[in-house]
Symmetry: C2
Subunit: 246 residues, 2 copies
């Protein structure tokens, strides 16, 4: 049975996150229902990772095994025809049987968008976090530079999370201004739970002048209490998942 | 009683247009309710113009007369606190008694956004019209240049509309590409009913190679049937209304 890889986007506003849950509508549930409708078989999908309630994606990756006569290039259209409009399949391909969307991911890119106008931009209210206090984006850039690289990011992980290692290579952390938006782009070999949202909260505190822009000591403390707060989910978008394997 | 001018935005997705209607929720109704709640008096607002169901605004202008102790610079915050989140007040000022949001408007700018990717960009699905057939934006630019200027735009007006004059000065008609988006920006001294949506529909037909890029003959025909179809409302945003008077 072929192993099918899908690249997809979703607006997380209407979902209780990605992963299947009893008594709550999730993206995974809608995807599995659509695949069953189109391919006539029940499947269990594997994602590159779950996303929390309210988090969006434009480049999530999943895989699943299914028998289908639909050629891969037609699969996005076939699924989009039955999916709700807030979930869109962008690409499909047949990959090797050993391909696993989670275990084989070698890098992920997220963006976190801040709307820093005096009043919220109405058309992006579900996809940007409104911060009305003026932020100094140059200070935020300097602070981002001190976080970039391979570090133990314990200070930037939701407390209570359990993982094998808390070391991650944050190989890109950019702060870009396109007024009134400030967009933080974070790319790493992997992220700890809530890591991007805690980084964003910490950078916002720097931008407000409430903490020093050298975040080296915060990394070194390996203590969640030393970093900033966890900003709301709705500014976060999973943009891309990278793989070496096909 | 002071004459208060407000600049505001709204996401038209959830409204039956701007103007008051019986048995349908409109932006005007929400605004008048909010003003009554905050200023303790019933008012009737005047807008620069109505917008249709599903059309958005980031720079709509209204005025109304009301007695209030709230200083103008605090009015946006006070109203935003009681308005639904899909309507946002950006600015307020006291203007002369003779200022009229509709009669004194000397120019308006609209954008119409096309999403020309193979599949719709999920996060902009309510604010961009998805056209899956590849469009030649350079042909659309050439066509736009033939529409720009002062013309009788009868061919680009919804049939059955009644107006004093069908001559408008379309002083700007730009087509910009920011893949996968193609954005049409139209600025004029005024617009006929559905004019931007008919222009967008006509430019899309040019971009698909289905009609000549010289639209001069279409203008000259003064016949609605000679122009393209009326594209859906959700790609349209009222960006700015200009005034000379204060």
């Amino acid at each position: 049975m072929p192993n099918i890889k899908l690249t997809l986007g979703y607006d997380g506003t209407g979902y209780h996150g990605f992963q299947l849950q009893k008594n709550a509508v999730t993206v995974q549930q809608k995807l599995e229902e659509a695949i069953e409708k189109v391919m006539g078989q029940k499947v269990r999908i594997t994602a590159s990772g779950r996303t929390d309630t309210g988090v969006h994606a434009t480049g999530q990756v999943i895989n699943f095994f299914a028998q289908t006569g639909i050629p891969p290039q037609r699969i996005p259209h076939a699924l989009n025809a039955v999916l709700p409009r807030d979930i869109v399949i962008y690409a499909a391909e047949i990959v090797s049987d050993s391909f696993h969307a989670r275990f084989d991911a070698v890098g992920k890119t997220y963006t976190y968008t801040i709307d820093n106008g005096a009043h919220p931009q109405v058309l992006s209210r579900h996809h940007a976090y409104h911060v009305r206090f003026p932020l100094d984006a140059n200070l935020m850039k300097q602070a981002a530079a001190t976080l970039q690289g391979k570090h133990d990011f314990t200070s930037f992980m939701a407390s209570g999370s359990s993982v094998k290692t808390t070391v991650r290579n944050l190989y890109r952390l950019d702060v870009e201004i396109n007024w009134p938006y400030i967009t933080i782009t974070a790319a790493a070999d992997g992220f700890l739970y809530n890591m991007v949202r805690i980084i964003a909260g910490t950078l916002i505190e720097v931008g407000r002048g409430k903490r020093d822009h050298n975040l080296g000591p915060v990394i070194d403390a390996k203590n969640r209490h030393r970093a900033g707060w966890t900003v709301p989910a709705h500014g976060l978008v999973l943009r891309e998942v990278e793989y070496n394997k096909k």
